[in-house]
Amino acid sequence: MTARITNILIANRGEIAVRVLRAAHEMGIRATAVYSDADASARHVRLADHAVHLGGAAPADSYLHIARLIDAARASGCDAVHPGYGFLSESEEFAAAVTDAGLIWIGPPPDAIRAMGVKTEARSLMERAGVPLVPGFQSDTATDAEFVAAAERIGYPVMVKAAGGGGGKGIRIVRDPAELPEALAGARREAAHAFGDPRLFLERYIERGRHIEIQVFADSHGNTVHLFERECSAQRRHQKVIEESPSPMLTPETRAQMGAAAVEAARAVGYVNAGTVEFIVTPAGEFYFLEMNTRLQVEHPVTEGVTGLDLVKLQITTAQGHRLPFKQDAICQRGHTIEARLYAENPRLNFMPAPGTLIRFIAPYAPGVRVDSGVVSGDTITLHYDPMIAKIIVSDWTRTDAIRRLDRALCDTVILGTTTNREFLRALINHPAFLAGEVDTTFIDSHLAELIPPEHPDATTLDHALIAAALHERTLAPSSVTNGKAITPDPWARADHFRVGGE
C-alpha cells in the first residue's frame, strides 16, 4: 500500500529543516516550516513554501509542543511530518500523535522507538537477537561477593553503573579488584541519592574504545539493509566533533559482521525507515551494541557521501510505502567522506557557547565540498538552541585526500561576529593521531591542550589583519583620507557595489 505525500510539515529548525525542505522540493513536495519567536526570519522559514508560528523561543513552547505541531500540520494541509533529529524525533508520543491525526510519520514505527528508547529493554532485545553486548552482570539481589565474582568473569577494568541511572552519573571505573567493594558502596549511595534506586550493574570498561555506528534502512516490505559504518570517535565530552566513513580501523570482516549485527538489531524491533545502531569497538576489533538511534542522524551526510544515496529522499519514499530501490549487494562504500561540525563556541574558554550574529559567514564551495547550514550572513546563532553553524562535509578518493580537502574547506570558511571552533577543528584533523586514524573516544578530552590554537596570530597574519581593518576604516570615515592624494577608488566600496540592494 503506497500513499502520495504532497506537503510535509517539518517539525524542526536549523540546518536539518533546510535539508529536509530541500529533499521535499526536489521531489515536487511542498515544505511547511514551523518556527518559534526566535526563528521568525530563520533560513528554514524563508525557504519554505509556507510557515507556521508555534510559540515562544523555549523549545517547550514551540518545537517540543506536540499539540501545536499537529495543529500546524492540519491547518497547512500537510499529509506527512518529518521530525528531523533532536526535539521530538525520538518521541514515541509524537509519532503516535502524528499517526493518530491521519498523517504519515516519516520515521520508524512508535513501537520501535519505544523498544529502543528504554535502554534495559533494548539490551534484552538485542541479547535475544544475538547482537553482541558489552560483557556485564546485572542482578537485583546479588551480594558484593557475587559482584566481585562476576567482575572476575567479565575482566577488569569494569564499570559500575546505576541500573536506574543515565547521563554518566554514578559511573565508576574500577581497575583493581581490591577497589571494587568500596566502589560498589559508593556507587550504591550515589545511585540511591540521585535516582532513588540503589541497584547497580557491571559492564566491562572498553579501554581506547572507538565509537562506530552502522546506518540501517528498512522498508515496510521486510527489506532491511545496512549502509556501512560511520566512525565518530572524535568526541568532546560525548559530543561528536568529526564523523567519517569508512572507519580507518575496521577490517572488511569486522565491517561485514557489524553490518549484519545492525540489520539483526533493526529486524528484532520491526524497524522501518532510517536508523543507526551504535557500537563500541575495542582496539582488537571486538564490537558491542551500545544503543540504537531511531531517527536520522546529524552525520547522515557522511553515509550519503560514501554510498551516493540521499537518505532523506529515501525516508520519504519509504514512508510512502515504497520498497527500497536496491538490495544490499547493490550498495557500495566508495571513497572517503568526513564531516566537521562548525559550532559557535569558544575553545579557549572551555568551549563556552558563543551565541551572536554572523556578521559574515562565508561558506566554502569547491568540488567535493558540501555545506549543510541553517544560517547565512546576517543571521543569528541564538542562545535558545544548539550552537551549530554548519556541517562541512567533504568527499574524496582516499582518507588523506579527504582530510586535506576538509582542511582547505575550513581555511576558506570565514566567520565574522562570533567565535567558532574552526581553528580547533583544523588542529584536530591535522593532529598526527587523527592523520594516523588512531583517535579513540577519549582522545580529544585527554589531548585538549594540543588542540587549542594559540591565542595570538603570527606577526604576518596580525599585520594583514591590521591592513584589512584600516582599509575597512576608510569606508567608515572617508573624510580622514581625503587628503588630496587619496585618489584610489575604495576597494571595499567596489567589492560591495553589486551586492547592495540600492546600487
Binding site: 559557535a344 574558554l349 563556552m352 557557547p353 558563543a354 551565541p355 551572536g356 556578521i359 559574515r360 562565508i362 550572513s377 542562545l383 535558545h384 538552541y385 544548539d386 550552537p387 575550513l410 581555511c411 576558506d412 570558511t413 570565514v414 566567520i415 565574522l416 561576529g417 567565535t419 567558532t420 574552526r422 581553528e423 591565542e455 595570538h456 596570530p457 597574519t461 596580525l462 599585520d463 594583514h464 589583519a465 591590521l466 591592513i467 584589512a468 581593518a469 584600516a470 582599509l471 575597512h472 576604516e473 576608510r474 567608515l476 580622514s480 583620507v481 587628503n483 592624494k485 587619496a486 585618489i487 584610489t488 576597494p491 571595499w492 567596489r494 567589492a495 560591495d496 551586492r499
Partner: protein, 162 residues
Amino acid sequence: MPTYSYVYNGETYSVALEALADGTYRAVIGERAYTLRAIPNENGGLTLAFDDGDRATVYASSVSGTRYTAVNGDPVTFTLPEAVKRSSHKAHAGDLTAPMPGQVRDVLVKAGDSVKKGQTLLLLEAMKMEIRIAAPADGEIQSVRVKTGDVVEMGQMLIGIG
C-alpha cells in the same frame, strides 16, 4: 599618512595607510612597510596582493567599537582604543560576571544573604549548556543585578559579593 589604531589582546597597534596614485596602497606598521594592491574579491572580501608576490584574502566588518577581520579565514578581532577606554571601568573584585552570553535560569540568592564558598548563586543557560555561578569565597551578597529570564551578555555584572 592617515593612521589607524587598534587594540588586540591589550596591546595597541597603529597602521598608517596611504592610497597611492598608481592604484596601490602603502601600509606602515611599526618598522614594516608594505606595498599592495587590494583586489575586490567575492562576498565583499579583498585579496591583498603584496608587491613581493605574497597574497592574503581578508574580510572586515565592524559593530560600533569592534573591528572583526579574517585573514585567510583566521579571525582577528580588534577594539578601537576609545572603545577600550569606555569599557575599562573594570568590575570590582567581588563582582561576579557572566562567563558567557546566556539567559538567567534561576537566581538562588538575594541581597543580604550570607553565602559559603562554592555555594551556587545563579544558573545561567545558553544552547542547552548550563553554567553554575558559585560563590568564590564565604561572604555576603551585596547586590543582585539580574532576575530569572534576563538575557545577559558575556562579562555582564550579575551579582556583587563582599
